[in-house]
């Protein structure tokens, strides 16, 4: 136990000397929270229209945001989604609709212009958005916080520590615990500051956030351990981990909700831990009962356990085989 404490203290000190990692990680966490707040305050995805000429039929409609312009904006502003459609009104009241977003939207706009209504679409809450952003950043940064493991492996420190009375288990345990603490504590502190200092409404109560955050941080550490152990060099691990994280987070709808879900698509993506995690936080924010989200939550925790065990097993096997 003494050896474990010693390893933890040393790892903490080594990590604390890498100001660049720490700064980048914590700045990104702040940005994730700010981004979620920004998105939520803007009111999600409205249909944005640029209107050339006078048209008052669209004002006061929830789903549309209308901007009056003098000259028609270029087509590239449609492509980069500044506007979803451009309406040109002639002097006699006839109008033209220009959109690249398909006939469905054009028909909807025409319907509304003719005096009809269309139903609103459900939106993702601020807490869910924030948790999604945080999950991706934690997964990306988790690998950074385990680079000490990779470096020790390359420099031979790992072998020496493993041969000392401390042993391999204590070494890996200390690495993971330090990474966990250095990701978890600042994230909670930043969220507390956002809530208490700036009075931001974040979708969940503070204790709930503190409890909830344990899971993504654990997932990040477990994933990092697995990738670090599986890749031969820490360099490759960082790149592989980054690529895997970005791909799977996009697939699972962590960054933004996937709108056009089809059955086979769900079939492919639902096994990802991120997808299940998003359903946990989404259901929690809606205030659903525990029976609704305990299943996906335990599924995510099972992934954590699998990553940890696999990482440890790979490391132990390679250590016994003399790779380090």
């Amino acid at each position: 136990m003494n050896a474990f404490g010693c390893l933890m203290r040393l790892n903490m000190q080594r990590m604390a000397s890498r100001k660049a990692y720490l700064l980048v990680t914590y700045v990104m966490i702040v940005l994730a929270i700010a981004g979620a707040v920004l998105l939520a305050n803007y009111g999600g995805m409205k249909v944005k229209l640029a209107v050339v000429g006078a048209l008052d039929r669209l004002s006061g409609l929830e789903r549309f945001q209308v901007e009056s312009v003098n000259d028609a904006p270029p087509v590239s502003s449609l492509v980069r989604q500044k506007y979803d459609g451009i309406i040109t009104v002639q002097v006699d009241g006839a109008f033209e609709v220009l959109t690249i977003k398909g006939e469905k939207l054009e028909a909807e706009i025409r319907e509304v212009l003719a005096g009809g209504t269309i139903p609103d679409e459900p939106q993702r809450g601020i807490g869910t958005t924030m948790m999604g952003f945080l999950l991706m950043i934690l997964l990306l940064q988790g690998v950074m916080f385990l680079t000490l493991f990779g470096e020790d492996r390359e420099s031979g420190t790992l072998r020496r520590t493993a041969l000392s009375p401390a042993g391999l288990k204590a070494y890996l345990g200390a690495q993971c615990l330090v990474a966990f603490l250095m990701l978890y504590v600042p994230t909670v502190v930043i969220i507390c500051a956002a809530r208490l200092g700036f009075g931001l409404e974040l979708g969940y109560s503070l204790p709930a956030i503190a409890m909830l955050l344990i899971v993504p941080v654990l997932l990040a550490v477990g994933f990092a351990l697995f990738v670090m152990a599986a890749c031969r060099s820490s360099d490759n691990a960082v790149m592989t981990g980054g690529a895997l994280t970005v791909l799977t987070c996009l697939l699972s709808g962590t960054v933004y909700a996937v709108t056009n879900e089809q059955t086979w698509w769900k079939y492919i993506t639902q096994w990802l831990p991120q997808t299940q995690w998003m359903s946990v936080v989404g259901k929690l924010e809606q205030g659903l009962a525990i029976s609704q989200w305990i299943g996906p939550l335990s599924y995510v925790l099972a992934w954590v356990a699998a990553f940890m065990i696999a990482g440890w097993a790979v490391c132990a096997r390679r250590y016994r085989a003399g790779h380090y």
């Binding site: 959109t99 690249i100 970005v246 697939l251």
Partner: protein, 254 residues
């Protein structure tokens, strides 16, 4: 004169070696071909409901993710420059009778040629597989601008290595910086649709300027954004090369 010729030959040999190093590294090949292609495929598929038939989601992501690829060239460059395996050989080259600057210049050039070839392959695949529209006749301007961005990015990666004195640290920081710039610049989803504040924020990312310029060339048929874009990238590259000259220290190669 004879010295110059010999020196040039030395550069050629260095360049060939660096180029072959990149070409034979599976990780570099995958991150420069398969990874962007998969991203375009996945993102394009996910968001195809947000676009129609005239301009598809593949058209949007084909361009933005080629810019993302160009951004990540900096990591390929830093990898080809200071990877641990290459340090000893770099050291030997530095002690041979050729110019010091040619060590990093050849890496920049090798990375540039390698990644630009990869981009060419990607572009052909994109046109064949998804029918991505690169502006018809104006496609030449798009690809010239993109290629210059590759050059800029390669110089940036090498300069970052010189600055931080280690490839691992440079790569780790670049990984984060690139992803943040890409996200802010609207490469994965457009921030312009999120309101005025988000749009303004988005313009803080230089990546946004590049993407914006490219979209203007492709969809508005106006070339006035081409000159500032290209000259900006060229000036940036020149500044980065100067930065390399000032920050490169032989003793850091040990």
């Amino acid at each position: 004169m004879a010295q110059f010729v010999q020196s040039t030959r030395g550069f050629g040999m260095l360049w060939k070696r660096d180029f072959m190093n990149l070409l034979t590294s599976p990780v570099m090949l995958l991150t420069n071909t398969l990874f962007p292609l998969l991203l375009i495929l996945i993102l394009g598929y996910l968001t195809r409901g947000q676009y129609g038939d005239t301009v598809t989601s593949y058209d949007y992501y084909g361009i933005t993710l080629l810019v993302f690829h160009a951004l990540n060239v900096s990591m390929t460059a830093s990898n080809s420059f200071m990877e641990r395996k290459l340090r000893a050989s770099n050291m030997r080259v530095l002690y041979s009778p050729i110019r010091t600057s040619w060590v990093y210049l050849s890496k920049i050039l090798a990375t540039f040629v390698f990644t630009t070839l990869c981009m060419g392959m990607l572009a052909v695949l994109l046109v064949v597989l998804f029918g991505v529209y690169f502006g018809g006749k104006d496609a030449v301007y798009v690809f010239v601008a993109l290629a210059l961005f590759h050059l800029f990015s390669a110089a940036f990666g090498v300069w970052f290595c010189c600055l931080w004195k280690s490839e691992e640290l440079a790569n780790k920081i670049l990984n984060v910086v690139n992803n943040v710039l890409a996200l802010m610049g609207g490469l994965f989803f457009s921030w312009d649709s999120l309101g005025r504040t988000a749009e303004t924020l988005s313009y803080f990312s230089p990546v946004k300027w590049v993407v914006d310029g490219l979209f203007r060339i492709v969809y508005d048929g106006s070339l006035w954004s081409f000159i500032p874009l290209v000259s900006g990238l060229l000036i940036g590259t020149a500044l980065l090369l100067l930065g390399c000259k000032w920050t490169f220290r032989t003793e850091e190669m040990v």
